[in-house]
């Protein structure tokens, strides 16, 4: 018996060559920055719908503070409140920011990939699994004021895992900008979104690491029944991460997004560029809030000079960015009918409102300060603090959604629906106003942050709670519209093809095909200004041929 010689193989069909991984294995094992960014964005939007629904339940419950309708008791109200607040930051805003950063940063700075792609993948999967456990901890009566000790420990551990995962992704994103920029792109020439990720990421690395330390102490103290962590005090030990001034740290990249979107849709450049760089840097410094916590202070941190100065100054960088955007629109031809523009500018105005309220909180004669409010475990501060946090966080969320509408061509090569985007931006803008503004007003009417079991609540505050119920309804609708738009027009590729540069962009992500090919740039470009495409530079690129 003779063995037939193997047929000569064609290079293109040679089985000995490694085959491309496809399907689920590709998704699970991918280190491609665009895929990881899309995964982050997709799941963050799913969590957004969930959080918005829970906010609606809170609003319904707050409608009548003298009795309980949906929830069994005050602890359940507080549990859901903590889930919405922590969820909005750690399940929605930060992941959405990292998702956009993973997709856009390498394209904006002329890099072929993201730094530490395996760490970026570990960041996403770690975050996703931890987020599932985080929600499950609530389901088994865990959470910060839960009734089951195992569940509380699970909540603390899962929150630690979420923070570690997000920090890992932050290191990946910041390292990308610091080390992988293309030739000629110094940091002062980097696009403002990339710069804002450096600033915001640095502040996150510092402040969230302190939060991690707090969570670890809380976990060990709770597990071993120490009086260091009294019953029901866990949330008050970590709530600084969701209050003034730390909420501003989560909004730092939002300023970079606005400063990227507004010039593009105005058809002219933002100038002077250095003012944008300085404003974002100052906003990051003022957003560092790890000092404003009870653990570090025997006295009230609201008395501290830095806290007061921080509250008074934080509006300045937001005003600077707003001024730059207005000047840009004045010099150009603003397209105010674009969803990305409305989302971004609307979100910026909401952040500005939040920073103004932050100033009101530290002006003592107004008696709206946190220090004046009831402090019996959970009722920390007046409702004005909630209003301020909602203004800033939901404003940042709106800007991020604007970024999503702007950069969706880089993700899927499709345009998201303009009518749907306009509807969603309107719903988000009105929803945030209805949710946050009544809280600010009722804060001056002495309504505590968690108005449950307070039958003697002022009538005006009750009326504000009724008005505030409209907000979550609009936000739920807005979140559903955005999710549908992204799934239908983006992920399912039903939307119109975007072309390579649908907006006449000014930065490098628009110099290659949309979506970007594997490897992004066949030949790395050289830039000579912060807006290379606007200046008509010879950005060399052969990605389509590649």
């Amino acid at each position: 018996m003779t063995e037939a010689a193997p047929a000569p193989s064609n290079d293109e069909t040679d089985d000995s060559l490694p085959q491309a991984v496809t399907g689920l294995a590709e998704v699970l094992g991918t280190g491609r920055h665009r895929a990881l960014g899309q995964l982050y964005v997709g799941f963050a939007l799913v969590f957004l719908v969930t959080i918005a629904l829970l906010s609606l339940f809170l609003g319904i419950e707050r409608f009548d503070t003298a009795s309980f309708g949906l929830f069994d008791d005050a602890e359940m109200f507080e549990q859901v409140f903590s889930l919405t607040r922590a969820g909005l930051v750690f399940l929605v805003i930060l992941p959405l920011t990292l998702g956009l950063a993973f997709v856009v940063l390498p394209l904006q700075i002329g890099a072929r990939t993201i730094a530490f792609p395996r760490a970026a993948a570990a960041s996403f999967w770690g975050w996703l699994v931890s987020s599932g456990i985080f929600i499950a901890a609530y389901a088994v009566n865990g959470g910060p004021v839960g009734g089951r000790s195992d569940g509380i420990e699970l909540w603390l551990l899962s929150l630690m895992a979420i923070v570690v995962s997000l920090l890992l992704g932050t290191i990946s994103a910041v390292t990308t900008v610091l080390t992988m920029r293309t030739k000629g792109m110094s940091l002062d020439r980097a696009p403002l979104f990339a710069w804002s990720m450096v600033v915001g990421g640095t502040v996150w690395l510092a402040s969230l690491a302190v939060l991690l330390a707090n969570l670890l102490v809380a976990y060990v103290g709770f597990r071993y029944n120490s009086n260091l962590v009294p019953d029901g005090s866990i949330w008050s030990q970590v709530s600084w991460a969701f209050g003034q001034p730390q909420v501003f740290a989560y909004a730092v990249p939002a300023l970079g997004i606005v400063a990227s979107v507004a010039p593009t849709f105005s058809g002219t450049r933002l100038r002077p560029h250095w003012v944008g760089v300085a404003a974002i840097g100052l906003f990051g410094v003022l957003g560092f809030g790890a000092y404003a916590q009870n653990f570090f202070s025997s006295s009230n941190f609201q008395d501290e000079f830095l806290f007061v100065a921080d509250g008074l100054l934080v509006a300045l960088p937001v005003l600077a960015i707003l001024g730059l955007c207005i000047d840009t629109m004045r010099r150009g031809r603003p397209q105010l009918s674009e969803p990305a523009m409305i989302f971004s500018l609307g979100g910026l105005l909401l952040i500005l409102a939040g920073s103004v309220v932050a100033g009101l909180q530290v002006i003592w004669p107004l008696e709206a300060s946190l220090a004046e409010a009831t402090d019996d475990g959970w009722n920390l501060g007046y409702a004005i603090a909630d209003g301020q946090a909602n203004f800033v966080l939901l404003g940042a969320l709106m800007v991020l959604l604007g970024g999503l509408y702007y950069w969706e061509p880089n993700m899927s090569g499709r345009l998201l629906g303009r009518p749907l985007g306009l509807v969603a931006s309107g719903l988000f803008l009105l929803g945030t106003l209805f949710l946050a503004l009544p809280d600010v007003i009722s804060g001056f009417l002495d309504q505590p942050a968690l108005p449950v079991q307070l039958p003697n609540l002022d009538g005006g505050a009750e009326a504000m709670n009724a008005v505030a119920l409209v907000g979550p309804v609009l936000l739920v609708l807005g979140a559903l519209v955005v999710l549908f738009d992204v799934l239908f027009n983006g992920a399912a590729s039903v939307g119109a093809k975007a072309g390579n540069d649908p907006w006449n962009g000014q930065t490098l992500e628009w110099s290659i095909s949309s979506p970007a090919p594997p490897g992004n740039f066949a030949e790395l470009p050289t830039v000579r200004s912060e807006t290379p495409l606007f200046d008509g530079e010879p950005a060399t690129d052969e990605s389509e041929e590649a």
């Binding site: 940091l187 058809g267 560092f288 653990f295 570090f296 290659i512 008509g536 010879p538 060399t540």
Partner: protein, 263 residues
């Protein structure tokens, strides 16, 4: 330590480290040659390809293309080293947070009760001093590995990394012994753990975990070096490992003073 002290320490650190990172990212390097101005016909942009609005706003009235500044002739630092630096930055803040809790709780406790450690519990200074000495020696040996690889001296690189790991393991052994020797316990039944025990164990075990991570990093570097990686032209991995180790040692020195010396 009161809030003002924490603020005065923490805020400048954020600013200084941020500036240092930015300066590191803009480090000078060889000039970059200017590319020929012949963009790809399909994708390269020229002013003529831009929209009318853009062209009107970007060009002067004369229609001449304004001269652009020369390309920046700088290059970025190494990816691995920068990532390690950022991780060190976060780790430093993590321990800053832990020590902030430790010191503020201790100050409040001492002002109320007069004593920090309960009963007969105490920290004998000899053990932390020996641990500090061990880590200082390890810091020298890992610096020796950087020195050796810069001269392509592989034998000394292997030797120094091996001694570093030996000293690191010795430190971990000593640290666990110290925690046992204090007489403090976490699992004490119904009364609950004393805050001093909780915080001492959290700080001590966290640092042991950090050192274990530094040792794993050094081990990976050593295995790769044994496999032929790294040379005087490519020593980023060794440098990153050394940076992480030095930061670990520096953090212990702060713990040594703030927790063990001042007690």
């Amino acid at each position: 330590m009161d809030t003002a002290a924490v603020l005065f320490i923490s805020i400048p650190v954020v600013v200084v480290v941020s500036v240092a990172l930015i300066r590191a990212a803009s480090r000078s390097h060889d000039p970059i040659p200017t590319l020929a101005a012949s963009p790809h016909p399909d994708l390269a942009r020229t002013s003529a390809a831009l929209s009318p609005v853009v062209r009107r706003s970007s060009l002067p009235a004369s229609g001449a293309v304004p001269a652009l500044p020369a390309p920046n002739t700088r290059i970025r630092p190494a990816v691995g080293l920068t990532g390690t630096g950022l991780a060190c930055f976060a780790v430093t803040w993590f321990f800053g947070g832990l020590l902030g809790v430790y010191l503020s709780t201790r100050a409040a406790y001492v002002s109320q009760t007069g004593d920090w450690f309960p009963g007969e519990s105490t920290i004998d200074l000899a053990q932390p001093n020996v641990m500090a000495l061990t880590l200082v020696m390890a810091s020298f040996t890992i610096a020796w590995s950087v020195f050796a690889i810069a001269r392509d001296d592989r034998l000394n690189t292997y030797l120094s990394l091996a001694i570093t790991m030996l000293l690191g393991v010795a430190y971990i052994n000593q640290a666990f012994y110290l925690l046992n020797k204090t007489g403090l316990a976490l699992n004490v039944g119904d009364g609950g753990a004393h805050p001093a025990a909780v915080l001492l164990y959290v700080v001590g075990v966290s640092h042991i975990a950090l050192l274990a991570a530094a040792l794993i990093f050094a081990l990976i570097v050593m295995i790769r070096a044994l496999g032929g990686d790294y040379s005087s032209h490519d020593r980023e991995g060794v440098l990153s490992s050394a940076l992480f180790f030095h930061v670990t040692v520096a953090i212990y020195m702060v713990i040594w003073y703030a927790v063990y010396i001042t007690k």
